[in-house]
Structures are given as structure tokens and as C-alpha cells.
Subunit: 319 residues, 2 copies
DNA sequence: TCTTCACATGCAAACGTTTGCATGTCAGTG
DNA sequence: CACTGACATGCAAACGTTTGCATGTGAAGA
């Protein structure tokens, strides 16, 4: 691990000034093409790579964005990570991923830690209070995903419209009693989904019972199946696919057939696997949402706009 | 986003030298306790936070480690990311995650990009050639996970022993014909697993057919079910749980019952969900593996040791 | 009372870039 | 042939730390 060559090394070997080398990389058009070529050639020969720390120090730009999520094992966030990283790559950035477990204090702590290294932060379904977010936005650029807080640039992956369609479909197929298995409370997604379910159910004259799966785990979904079976509903809408799969498994164990006895609709469409029968769901355009978020960050748009990215109903075998 | 206070601001307000402030943070014991207290208090009051870029420039330490993986949506890597980040956190580091899709060139490109920012790299199931790795190790610290290359510090999450047990269990239950559904070729894990299956099968006098699922996706697993059914085997061992679940679904569609007609054993135990019947598998200690890797990096142990982390057989309902 | 030394702190260089300004050259114009 | 500019490049300061060395202080020992 010999120490790498610096801009000065390259400059000396060529008998030019360090600034010339710097410009050959950052501002080649103001140099004589021949000079640029010589510098680049020599740099390649020596294996010169700019020192990002030094660059960051002078320019204030570190080339890093932070992505703050709740749970890496949730497939939703897998898609989020991939999209974020891909877009960052396109913008010559690197992404640093932080998992913070639905715990606001931990989230704050971890954010404080990455803060000094990043140019900006994408917060997915953050648990931070409005006050803390405002404070945060004074220290760095912030873009919110799936949090609808006025004044912030925010991207919302909306399931509302597709869910509406889905419920009408269920009602059309004869469903009268509905259960909604809710996910993490206080999240924008939960509020939007539960709100939509309640509203549309009311419009269509469907009864709806609420069952909770606060942590959003598979196990909770399976446990929820018991109360669902007791409630003798015709259809279930779940907060997301992980929960939906839990419900599916739970119902199967109890001898309830899906979709014959009960129809089931999930949300996200992010699972790396399928089950049998294949789950009907709302496919969210998570990629689009995070790509948009990263772009907004990079552009430095502190515009505070509210961007909605709609999902689409994907009917498979459980409805 | 007013520009944050620097060490010099703090120093001036207190009438001390910048170096004193620096020492109050990094080397408090050589200062008068009272001074330390005053500095810390004033720093807190001003909201002073050390500039990591400047620190990185002088010390050469960026506080960042890179984690290079193949596929974020694979649950194996979800556990890897979590463990890495947690351990990094404990060591006051941040982790930067890079997904590179089983593509050596892309991997090289992305590594080159993060290289200047990180103190070291954890490469999980890398696709890089030995030559490239050697070259890489001259430029930064490298720890390998699930690649067994002599000379490098490497951590191996081994399924061998547990797989051996599992196959003996299958044989004991009367299995005579085995299928192995292989994952990404050229990976150490694949070599170890397939090697173990073949060896143990031979020892027990079992016939074994190889079916491939090169990309390691659910869909390939499901497709593989067809050839499995044709081969009329008694038991299937799959490279990992994602594939195993695909196989399970595929077999179910074909009317083959698991475990009655065919027994099924997966590997990893990382899925955020379960299916019905619950999958028997080898639970790998992925956390332990990555925690070890990060520690080795942080300690700067270029010792080149080979660390084996064994998995345990977890019998559930498919065997 | 003078010397010695430990201890606490200050000074200034260094880390590797970027960038505003100064300088030098040369072609084109009058 | 002198003058103006455009153009290419050099010079040096700045970014915010860390750290080896120098300095100043006061207490302990002689």
C-alpha cells in the first residue's frame, strides 16, 4: 500500500503547475488540448487518482449521499437501495445506507453520525418529528420519501388510486366484509392506505375491520390470520406483501382457502419470491420514487415540491 | 444552511489555540481537565462538529468502509448489510454499500469509484479475478467473505458440515435419488455446497443430478422443478432459500407434494417470510461472518487468515 | 534562592486539492 | 512597429484538521 501519487507528483514530472493538472481534470476546455492530453496520459501512467478528501475539503462536496431506511430486510427497501445507488452512480455519487429500525432516537443518532460526510440525505419513511426535520434541514439538504411534510421536497409512492381500484374489484366480486391489516402506525404510507381503504369501503357500503401488524413482519401477518378468520370477512387488504404473505400462510394453516373463501390484496410488489397462489398486489414504482429523490438532492432543489408517484394494481391469483 | 463553526471559531471564543480544541477531542488526557471541560462546553454550545473531510485529509482515515455485494434484493445480503452496518457503527465507522450484479467489470468499476473514499473493503462473494484482487489489495485493505483465496484475510460462512448432516438425514429417511439445484457458478459457496453434496451422496451411495439456477433467482428455481419432477428424485437440496422456494412453488404447481413425495432442503435461512410448509434449511451465521470481516478490516489485520463460520442444520417441515 | 523538570499549551507545517488573480506569450489590428 | 486582447499557464491562498516541536509556567528538590 505505497502512498498514491498526488497531483504535485504528476505536475513535477511534466514540469507544469499543480493547478494545470487539476484543470486538466476539472476544466479541460480552458487548457491547450495538447496539454490536457499529456497530463491525462501521465496521470494514467502513474495511476494518479484524485484524493476525494482533499477535494471535499476545498469544494465542500463529498460525493456522498445518505439513504436512511428502516429495515434492510424488508424487500421494499431493497428496491429503494438499488434505485438510489444506481441513480447515485449515474450522478457520480456514492450512497451510504443507514438502517435505523423504526426508532426515532437511533435514527437521529445515526443521522448525526453520517451528517458530516454527506452532501445530502434521502429519508425514507422517517420517524423524526417535524421539529427535528426542520432542524436537520438547516444543516444539510434533505429529501423525504413517503413522508408528507409541507415545506420539504418529498416524493410519495402512492398506492391510493390502485387500492381504490382493487377494492372496487373486490366489491364487484361480491365482497361485503373487509379486513385491513395495518402496518407501522404514524407512517405516511399507513395513513394513506388505511385512509383509502376506509373511504372506499364506506363509499361501497363495505364493513371493514382493522387488524394491526405494527412492526410489519411476516409473523404478525400470520398471527393476524386468526382474528381475520374469526371476523369471517370476504376479503383482506394488507399493508404490504410481507404481511400479506403472513396472512396467506396463517389462513392456509387454519384451513381457509385463498382466494376461494377469502380474497387477499397486498401492496409493494417487492418480494424476491412468490408463493402459491401468487399474490395480487399494488405495484409501487419505488425505483421512480427514489431516483426522483436522489435527483432532487443532487440538483440542490430545496424547492419543497410534493411529487406523487402512483402505483398500479396488479391482479394475480389471490383476488 | 449557514456554514458550521470550525475548530478555530471555538478556539478564538475561548482564547485558546486551535490545537487545544483538537486535543480536547482527540487526546483529552494531556490537557488540564478544566480546559477540556471548557472546550467541550463551548463546542457543544456552538454546535461544533469536526469536519470529517479535513480530518480525513490529515489523518488519512475517512471513517468509511465499503461493502461490495452482488444483489441487494437477495435476503442473504440484507443480513450482510445489517451486520456490517451494525459493527461499523460500533467501531465509529460508516458503511457504504455497493451492489454490482455478478458482473466483474461493473464490480471493478464501482470499486474504483469508492476506493478513494474508504479505508477498506469487504467483498462478499466477489467475482474479481485473483490478479485483480491482488492489485486491489495494494491500494486498500481488503477482507473477503465467501471467497477462499490464499493470502487474503477471508471469512467463510460454511454450510458443509450442516449439509452433510442434512443429507444423512435425508438418506436415513429413505432417499435414494437426489437433485442439487446449483446457484451462481464460480462462487466459493456453490463450490463448497455442490462439493459437499456430491461427496456425501457418493459416501451414502445416493444418485445425484445437478440442475442449475445460475442467477440464483426464484424464477429459475421454479423452472428447475420441471426437470426435478422428471428425474423422479426423492429429495432436493437447493443452493439457497430463494431457489428452494422457487422449487417448492414449481413442484406444488406440478402436483408434487413436499415433503411427502419429495423432501427439500434450502440454505441461508434469511428470508423475511415463510411459506407453507416451512422450509428446512441450513442457517448460516451471516452476522458473525460480516462482523468478523469488519473487525478484521478495522484492526488492519492484513494477516491473511482463513476464518470459518459454520452454519447449523435447521429442520422444519420440508424434510 | 536557584535549578530542574513535568506539564499544559501555543506555533506552524503539513495533508492534496481548487480557484481567483497575476503573468507571459503571441496573433491580429491600426 | 507598437498596442490590444485573447489565451494558456503559473502562483499562492484557502479549506479545517492534526501533530511534532517549541515555549512558558510553576512546583519540587537542592
Amino acid at each position: 500500500m505505497a502512498k498514491p501519487p498526488t497531483i504535485v507528483d504528476v505536475a513535477h514530472m511534466l514540469g507544469v503547475a499543480p493547478s494545470t493538472v487539476s484543470r486538466a481534470f476539472n476544466n479541460p476546455r480552458i487548457l491547450k488540448p495538447d496539454t490536457v492530453a499529456r497530463v491525462l496520459a501521465k496521470a494514467a501512467e502513474l495511476g494518479y487518482v484524485p484524493n476525494r478528501h482533499a477535494q471535499a475539503l476545498t469544494t465542500g462536496r463529498s460525493g456522498l449521499v445518505g439513504l436512511v431506511i428502516r429495515d434492510v430486510s424488508n424487500p421494499f427497501f431493497a428496491r429503494a437501495i438499488r434505485a438510489t445507488q444506481r441513480e447515485a452512480e449515474r450522478l457520480s455519487l456514492n450512497a451510504i445506507v443507514v438502517e435505523c429500525d423504526s426508532d426515532a432516537d437511533r435514527e437521529q443518532r445515526l443521522i448525526d453520525r453520517v451528517l458530516p460526510q454527506v452532501e445530502g440525505l434521502v429519508l425514507a419513511s422517517t420517524r423524526l418529528s417535524a421539529a427535528r426535520l426542520t432542524e436537520l434541514s438547516r444543516r444539510t439538504r434533505v429529501v423525504l420519501v413517503n413522508s408528507d411534510l409541507a415545506g420539504f421536497t418529498r416524493v410519495l409512492a402512492s398506492a391510493s388510486e390502485a387500492l381504490d381500484q382493487g377494492i372496487r374489484l373486490l366489491a364487484g366480486a361480491g365482497a361485503r366484509k373487509l379486513a385491513y391489516v395495518g402496518g407501522p402506525p404514524y407512517s405516511w404510507s399507513e395513513a394513506e392506505r388505511w385512509g383509502t381503504v376506509r373511504r372506499v369501503a364506506a363509499e361501497r357500503g363495505l364493513a371493514v375491520t382493522y387488524v394491526s401488524a405494527n412492526m410489519g413482519t411476516y409473523g404478525e401477518g400470520r398471527a393476524a390470520a386468526v382474528s381475520i378468520a374469526e371476523a369471517e370477512v370476504d376479503a383482506v387488504v394488507a399493508f404490504d406483501d410481507v404481511i400479506a404473505h403472513g396472512v396467506l400462510d396463517g389462513l392456509t394453516i387454519l384451513g381457509v382457502r385463498v382466494p376461494e373463501d377469502v380474497r387477499l390484496l397486498g401492496c409493494d410488489d417487492a418480494l424476491p419470491i412468490e408463493t402459491h397462489p401468487r399474490l395480487s398486489t399494488v405495484r409501487l414504482d419505488i425505483e421512480q420514487a427514489f431516483v426522483t429523490a436522489v435527483r432532487a438532492l443532487a440538483e440542490g432543489s430545496v424547492s419543497g415540491q410534493r411529487i406523487l408517484v402512483p402505483g398500479v394494481l396488479t391482479v394475480r391469483e389471490t383476488t
